[in-house]
């Protein structure tokens, strides 16, 4: 046996050789054990690629679990809070899962790839938890994180780019739909999904075909101003679109240490993902009790006055602290100063008179503003092209 040698801390993904060519900033970080570009050239230009052309983001490091077997649907119905039977074959569903105390462990997407064949994508490492939850069900769970490469292709010209690359039938693919095509002898799975709130797709392929896929995509996309983007640009887009980020907007329950720091689906504004018509799922009893007794926290999206992002701000109401901001960004397309906040207020409490206490620095001078906030129901960026079918072409 060869002596054990240290491998690099972060491993390259299937696209790394190509990312290196684009990453002029050499701004690399780690994500789930893999190297990820934080930015390639310029965060703002990368952001605007998402909103005006086509942006490509490598999401290979995302945890991916393949669930197959006769009990796959029953098992997933036990694990997830929503009714999996409603996610038809060839469709994707956004979903969350809870521990028995009704606290959110993670959010993710469930891909219904075929009969008794699903893929669950998650932020946290969930293999062990899925294993324990699968006892008593006839299912097989396979961790595909290292074997399936994935690219998000997002933006107004994304459908055009993918069509130019040779993906046929894409324009009729509905949001959350899945399409399988052949790519250089491999199966390329295309889903109309994403984390940007824009028209966009995600491509899934065996890691061995990663570089070829990247090359074909960028060749087809060049006339349409395709651009590789890093996590920094994506972060702005996902806030603008109103998407929660696990580990930022809530603490995944399994990693939580301090009692009371986790959140239920209701406390994250995700009650619509809980289906009490299902007789059994993890956390049901606790969530029923919370539905009746009321929640401790309340999640709100805030339109914050002024142009200073309310990073980590306290939220005041009538001079009292009622909560804190978990995510904040100036949204460049919607021209909105947006913040997500966790408020310790009952569900029926008035949301008038909210104020964000914002601190910011200019050349070592710290300033404080008390910015009035208005709670909003919908994300400020929500273009029609996001759900139009056929998808608009350039």
């Amino acid at each position: 046996m060869n002596p054990h040698q240290d491998e690099p801390i972060y491993l390259p993904t299937a696209f790394h050789s190509r990312q290196q060519q684009h990453n002029l900033l050499h701004a690399w970080g780690g994500w789930n054990g893999y190297l990820k570009p934080e930015a390639y050239t310029d965060i703002e230009l990368e952001y605007f690629a998402i909103r005006s052309t086509t942006a490509v983001f490598d999401l290979s490091p995302m945890n991916k679990y393949r669930v197959t077997g006769p009990d796959a649907e029953a098992f997933l119905n036990r694990v997830l809070t929503r009714d999996v039977a409603k996610i038809k074959n060839g469709r994707v569903g956004y979903c969350i899962w809870c521990d028995d105390a009704g606290q959110v462990m993670d959010d993710g997407t469930l891909f219904h790839l075929g009969d008794n064949d699903y893929r669950l994508c998650s932020y946290t490492r969930a293999y062990e938890w899925l294993y324990w939850s699968s006892l008593g069900f006839d299912v097989a769970i396979e961790d595909e994180t290292g074997t399936v490469a994935a690219l998000a292709v997002q933006g107004p010209t994304s459908c055009t780019v993918l069509t130019a690359m040779g993906v046929t039938g894409l324009e009729s693919l509905k949001p959350f739909g899945i399409l399988e095509v052949s790519f250089q002898g491999q199966t390329l799975t295309v889903s109309r999904t994403g984390f940007t709130g824009d028209l966009g797709y995600e491509l899934w392929i065996d890691t061995s075909a990663g570089e070829a896929l990247w090359d074909a995509l960028f060749a087809a996309g060049e006339p349409y101003l395709i651009k590789a983007i890093g996590t920094e640009a994506l972060e702005i887009a996902r806030i603008e679109a109103g998407f929660l980020q696990a580990g930022v907007d809530f603490v995944p329950a399994e990693t939580a240490v301090r009692r009371g720091c986790t959140r239920s689906p209701f406390e994250l504004g995700l009650g619509w993902l809980v289906d009490f018509d299902k007789p059994r799922f993890n956390g049901r009893k606790a969530l029923l009790a919370e539905r009746d007794a009321g929640s401790r926290y309340r999640y709100v999206m805030l339109d914050v006055d002024g142009n200073k992002p309310a990073h980590h701000s306290f939220i005041l109401q009538h001079g009292k602290v009622v909560g804190t901001v978990t995510s904040a960004a100036w949204c460049p397309t919607a021209k909105t100063n947006l913040a997500f906040a966790q408020l310790e207020l009952p569900a029926d409490a008035s949301l008038t008179g909210l104020v964000a206490e914002i601190y910011y620095e200019r050349e070592l001078r710290w300033n404080k503003v008390l910015a009035p906030c208005v709670a909003i129901d919908r994300a400020p960026f929500d273009p029609p092209r996001r759900r139009q079918t056929p998808a608009p072409a350039l």
Partner: protein
């Protein structure tokens, strides 16, 4: 109220005398001196440090002869007594390796991602379970950490102040919630094996982690109570990184050296070659100490840094003590379980299955790849002999610290378990010691072909040497086992957990008191706070830092 004289007429008259210049004795004396007391620390050996000591036994090599790594030393004390200015530097190290009998290894990398993949190589489930395990141990750790720099409450006292202390503990437990409280009760009473089985499926991973549950304890991995011992090894921190361990630059003697310098900076004295034979008592009050060589030192306050057995059964006349104290001291559980080898090496040994340049070389090495093997090592202890397949906690500090071995040479510290206090009911002999040493060297040689040839010098310490040279009864490194029956308000025993002895003016400040052993210095500091309170002197001992 006790009185003391700031000006004494006789050279041998002090406001307070501390017996034993271990880290707790030095800490205690430093605080008393800083409060303005005339203090002397009496040390039996010609050198200070007790079990926190560096010695050059072979020219060019510095051994940490007893304790060897540092995590529990309270940062409040290190900062407050200006230990860095007095020469203390603790450099964090991370990671570890368990060498397996099949030639493979388990490498516990300090970096989360490499650790994840290495765990995944052994078990996909276990790799994921780590996050659950880390969160759970952190929950338990957070419960105990706020109480390290506090005296334990007295659960039998109904006085308002005492009730407040008890309520603080109650609140901390209440904070855990119902489910958390149930988990905590289970945690404090279960075995480290049972605890680890709740998370992991792989033998080598369980065995690697279980070591922390038995170190210094005469129990096996399947013995109830060992899960807490694991926690005891997780509750320290290096610069706020809870659970981290580090090397004291220059060996553990750097800790006692810095404490001694702090003590002296406040005007305290250290008198070595001063072997106390008796704590003198008259009229129910302490009057001083008498050395075995006949010298006497007078003081109305005598603080013992020795363990409870030595203090009450050896240094005090049993007739001066309440019967319950004599009885409890006799029954105090302080069973020796370990020994130590310190080895000077001519070069860096090769270990099978591990590249010499690996990051893991600076970690702690172990050679037990299953829980049953660890339990069989304990079986030998029960059979009153040393383990034939000993559990080792082996480190090479010279890979981190350039001061402990000549350039290119190396120093190895090897903690060995199990070693019983007596062999088949009789004292250890030199032949036993040689046999013990051989079992350890054989164990290492099984995984390192060139190790034996590199040995330049070896210091071997069985419980006999730990007792005779360091003064630890039966060689127990924690001055008493860290089991729930001997923790908090039961340490060393009920009614005497607030550092006060049964005789007026007599105090305890060693690891036999709360919060126990492990080079924390908290017992010494906590005891000083109580002494100053009894003297109605302003408190100079810091409170603990808060985690949140």
């Amino acid at each position: 109220m006790l009185c003391f004289q700031r000006q004494s007429n006789s050279v041998n008259e002090y406001d307070a005398i501390v017996i034993g210049a271990g880290h707790n004795g030095l800490t205690n004396a430093a605080y008393l001196a800083r409060a303005g007391l005339k203090v002397a620390v009496l040390e039996r050996n010609p050198y200070i440090g007790g079990a926190t000591v560096s010695r050059e036994l072979h020219e060019g090599w510095t051994y940490s002869n007893c304790s060897y790594v540092c995590s529990l030393l309270r940062p409040e004390i290190a900062r407050d007594l200006e230990l860095p200015r007095h020469g203390l530097q603790v450099v964090p190290y991370g990671g570890g390796v368990t060498f397996m009998q099949n030639g493979d290894i388990f490498g516990k990398y300090p970096e989360p991602e490499r650790r994840y993949r290495e765990m995944q190589r052994h078990s996909r489930r276990d790799a994921d379970a780590w996050q659950r395990y880390a969160a759970d141990t952190m929950k338990q750790t957070r419960l105990i950490r706020p109480f390290l720099m506090k005296r334990p409450p007295n659960p039998t006292s109904l006085r308002p102040g005492r009730l407040r202390e008890l309520a603080e503990y109650g609140a901390a437990f209440g904070e855990m919630g119902e489910a958390g409280l149930a988990d905590t009760m289970r945690f404090w009473t279960k075995s480290v094996a049972d605890y680890l089985e709740e998370f992991f499926e792989t033998d080598v991973i369980k065995a690697h982690l279980a070591g922390s549950g038995i170190i210094g304890t005469a129990l096996g991995v399947y013995s109830p109570g060992t899960a807490y011992v694991l926690l005891h090894h997780y509750m320290g921190d290096v610069d706020g990184n809870v659970g981290s361990w580090g090397f004291a630059r220059g060996g553990m003697g750097a800790v006692s050296g810095a404490l001694a310098a702090a003590l002296q900076s406040y005007g305290g004295e250290i008198i070595s070659d001063a072997d106390v034979g008796n704590i003198m008592v008259s009229g129910g009050k302490v009057t001083g100490v008498a050395l075995r060589d006949g010298r006497e030192f007078r003081s109305k306050i005598v603080v013992s840094n020795l363990d409870a057995k030595r203090t009450f059964l050896d240094l005090m006349d049993e007739g001066d003590l309440p019967q319950t104290v004599v009885q409890r001291a006799r029954n105090f559980k302080i069973r020796g379980s370990s020994g130590k080898l310190n080895i000077a090496l001519d070069g860096l040994p090769t270990f099978n299955g591990l590249d010499k340049k690996s990051r893991l070389m600076v970690g702690d090495f172990h050679f037990h790849d299953s829980l049953p093997r660890l339990e069989r090592a304990y079986d030998d202890w029960k059979n009153e002999t040393w383990s034939k397949d000993p559990y080792l906690d082996l480190l090479i500090p010279s890979l981190f610290d350039p001061t402990v071995a000549p350039p290119g040479k190396h120093m190895m510290t090897v903690f060995v378990q199990y070693a019983p206090p007596k062999i088949n009911g009789r004292e250890w002999t030199d032949e036993d010691k040689a046999g013990f040493e051989k079992s350890v060297l054989d164990q290492i040689s099984n995984y390192s072909p060139d190790f034996r040839d590199l040995i330049v010098h070896c210091e071997t310490r069985t419980p006999r040497e730990l007792e005779n040279e360091v003064g630890l009864t039966e060689g127990n490194i924690f001055q008493g086992e860290l089991t729930f029956d001997q923790l908090l308000f039961n340490r060393p025993f009920p009614g005497y957990a607030q550092y006060r002895g049964p005789v007026k003016g007599m105090y305890m400040c060693g690891s036999a008191t709360h919060p126990g052993g492990g080079v924390m210095a908290a017992p010494g500091a906590n005891a000083a706070r109580e002494i100053l309170a009894d003297l109605r002197e302003p408190n100079v001992v810091p409170e603990g830092y808060a985690d949140d």
